[in-house]
C-alpha cells in the first residue's frame, strides 16, 4: 500500500510542480534579466485568474480559450508598464523599483477587493472534476493540464531566447547591458520586452492556477512566495532550472501533506529551500 501511496504522491507533486514552474518563470525572467524583484508578480497572476473569471462568468468564454486573449494582453500591459511607468524608477534605483512594484501590488489587491469582494472565487468548468488514468493512478485533469502547459511555455521561452534576435538581445542584456548597447540593442526596450514576457507568463499562470485552486484578493502573496521559492530552488537564468524548482517545491509540498500533515507544507518547503541554498547558493541549475 505504501509504494502505491508514494507513487501517487510523487505523481501529484510532479504535476503540481509544473504549475509552480509557470508561476515562477515570469519572476525568473525579470530577476535574471533586470536584476530586480517584481513584488507585484503574485497580484498579476491573480489578475489573470480574475480576468478569466470575468470572461467566464459574463461572456461565457472558457478559461482555456481566454488564454488566447489574456496572454497577448498581459504582454502589452507589461511592455507599456515597464516602458512608461517603471523605467524611471529602475534607472533611479533598484529599491525604488521594488517599492513601485509593491505599490502596484497593493493597488491591485484593493481593486480586487472592491470589484470582486473578499470572497473566494473559482473558475468553475465541467472539466475541473475530470480525472485521468495514468497507469495505476488516477489524477485530476487540471493537474495534467498545468503540467503540459508549463512544459509548452518553458519550451517556447527557451526556443525564443535561443533562436531569435530579440531572445538573444534579452540574454545579452542580462549578461552585460553596456556591451548589449554596443551591439546596437536598445536595452530600455529589452527590459520592457522582458517585463512583457514576465507578465504574459503570469497571465497564463493565473488561468491555470485559477482552474486548480480557488482564489481571493489576498492569494497573490501566496503566489509570490511560491514564485520566489521556485526561482531560488531552480536557479536564475535556466528554463530547466525553473521547471525543476517547480517540481521540487511541488513534491515537497505534496509529500509533506501525505506523509506528515498539510500544516507542515510551508515549513517543509522553506526548510528544503534553506538547506539547498546553504549547500548550493546558485540553485539547482543556476548560473
Amino acid at each position: 500500500m505504501l509504494p502505491m501511496e508514494l507513487g501517487e504522491a510523487v505523481l501529484y507533486g510532479a504535476l503540481l510542480g509544473g504549475a509552480y514552474a509557470v508561476i515562477g518563470i515570469g519572476m525568473s525572467l525579470i530577476l535574471g534579466v533586470m536584476d530586480v524583484m517584481n513584488i507585484a508578480h503574485g497580484e498579476f497572476i491573480l489578475l489573470g485568474s480574475y480576468l478569466a473569471y470575468y470572461l467566464l462568468t459574463t461572456l461565457g468564454i472558457d478559461p482555456l480559450l481566454s488564454i488566447i486573449i489574456l496572454a497577448p494582453s498581459f504582454f502589452v500591459l507589461g511592455f507599456l508598464l515597464q516602458r512608461f511607468g517603471l523605467s524611471k524608477p529602475l534607472k533611479y534605483s533598484v529599491d525604488i523599483f521594488v517599492m513601485a512594484t509593491l505599490a502596484i501590488s497593493t493597488i491591485l489587491e484593493n481593486v480586487y477587493l472592491l470589484v470582486w469582494s473578499p470572497l473566494q472565487k473559482a473558475l468553475v468548468t465541467n472539466y475541473m472534476l475530470w480525472s485521468l488514468k495514468l497507469g495505476e493512478f488516477s489524477v485530476p485533469f487540471v493537474y495534467v493540464l498545468d503540467f503540459l502547459v508549463a512544459i509548452a511555455v518553458l519550451v517556447f521561452l527557451r526556443e525564443f531566447l535561443r533562436k531569435t534576435y530579440l531572445g538573444m538581445a534579452i540574454r545579452a542584456s542580462s549578461e552585460d547591458w553596456r556591451m548589449a548597447q554596443v551591439m546596437g540593442i536598445n536595452t530600455d526596450n529589452v527590459r520592457a520586452l522582458t517585463f512583457g514576457l514576465g507578465l504574459l507568463t503570469a497571465g497564463i499562470a493565473g488561468v491555470l492556477i485559477g482552474l486548480t485552486y480557488p482564489f481571493s484578493p489576498s492569494t497573490g502573496k501566496a503566489y509570490l512566495v511560491i514564485a520566489f521559492g521556485v526561482v531560488v530552488l531552480g536557479g536564475l537564468g535556466s528554463m530547466l532550472g525553473t521547471f525543476l524548482g517547480g517540481v521540487i517545491l511541488g513534491l515537497v509540498q505534496v509529500l509533506t501533506a501525505v506523509f506528515f500533515d498539510p500544516a507542515w507544507q510551508l515549513f517543509a518547503s522553506y526548510l528544503v529551500i534553506f538547506v539547498l541554498l546553504a549547500l548550493r547558493p546558485k540553485g539547482v541549475l543556476g548560473r
Binding site: Y165, M168, A169, R171, A172, E175, D176, R178, M179, Q181, V182, M183, G184, I185, N186, T187, G237, R287
Partner: protein
C-alpha cells in the same frame, strides 16, 4: 583619404571629480588607421568610451559630419560605430562563439551570412570553434571573437581598444594583420595602443596622449622622426 569620418571637438570627461580627459580635439580621416598612444591613465579608453556614448562628456563628437552627442550608445552603433573593448571578459560568456557573432549582427541582420563568411575568412579558428561556449576560448581567440563580433554590424569606423594587451607577440601580429586586412576592405580604424612602437608601425597617423591631454598629433613617419618622441618614448 581626406574626408573626415570622426571629429572630436574639445572633449572633456570627468569620473566624479576626477578629470580623465581635458579638452582634447582631433580628426580621423576616412579609410585611415589612426592610433591613440599613451601609458595607463592617459585617457585613451575614456576617449573611446565617450565616442560610443558609454560615459558622459562635455564637448562634441561628429560622425561623418553629423553631431552624435544626443545619441545613445545603441543609436551610435546604428550610425556605423563599433567598439572592440579592451577586456576579453566583454565576450558574452554564456553564448556560443557563433551566437556571439550573430548578436553582433543585431542591426545588420540581412547581411548576417555574408558577414559571417567575412569574419570566418579573417579568423578561421572561429569557424572551428563556432559551437563552443565562448568562455572556453583562449585569450587570443577571445580577442578575435571580439573583433569578429564588432565587424558583424558592418561598421564604418572600428574602435579597437588595446587589442594586443596580454597576448603573445605571434598572436598580436596575427591580429594586427587581420586589422590591416579589415582596413583595406574599407573600414576606418581608430586604435588605442600602449606600445608606441607597435602603434607607429601599424597606423597612418597617431596622437600621443599624456594625463588626459594630447601631446602631439601627426603622421606615424613624422612622429617617429620627432626628436622629443624618439627620446621620451622610443628610448633612442
Amino acid at each position: 583619404m581626406s574626408e573626415i569620418i570622426l571629429r572630436i571637438n574639445n572633449l572633456t570627461v570627468y569620473y566624479g571629480r576626477l578629470e580623465a580627459l581635458h579638452d582634447i580635439s582631433f580628426d580621423v580621416k576616412k579609410g585611415e588607421i589612426f592610433a591613440l598612444i599613451g601609458s595607463n591613465g592617459a585617457g585613451k579608453t575614456s576617449t573611446l568610451s565617450a565616442i560610443v556614448g558609454l560615459v558622459p562628456y562635455r564637448g562634441n563628437i561628429e560622425l561623418l559630419g553629423e553631431k552624435i552627442d544626443h545619441l545613445k550608445t545603441y543609436q551610435r552603433t546604428t550610425r556605423g560605430l563599433s567598439l572592440v573593448p579592451e577586456s576579453s571578459a566583454a565576450i558574452f560568456s554564456r553564448f556560443t562563439v557563433l551566437e556571439n557573432l550573430i548578436i553582433g549582427s543585431y542591426i545588420n541582420r540581412e547581411s548576417k551570412n555574408d558577414m559571417l563568411e567575412r569574419v570566418f575568412s579573417l579568423f578561421p579558428i572561429l569557424k572551428e570553434r563556432a559551437d563552443q561556449m565562448a568562455d572556453k576560448l583562449s585569450g587570443g581567440e577571445r580577442k578575435m571573437l571580439l573583433i569578429g563580433r564588432a565587424l558583424m554590424s558592418n561598421p564604418k569606423l572600428l574602435l579597437l581598444d588595446e587589442v594586443s594587451l596580454g597576448l603573445s607577440p605571434v598572436v598580436t601580429e596575427k591580429i594586427y594583420e587581420a586589422c590591416a586586412e579589415i582596413n583595406t576592405q574599407g573600414v576606418t580604424i581608430l586604435l588605442v595602443e600602449q606600445s608606441i612602437w607597435k602603434a607607429l608601425e601599424k597606423a597612418d597617423r597617431a596622437c600621443i596622449m599624456e594625463a588626459g591631454k594630447i601631446v602631439k598629433i601627426g603622421s606615424s613617419a613624422e612622429l617617429r622622426d620627432e626628436e622629443l618622441i624618439r627620446k621620451a618614448y622610443l628610448g633612442l
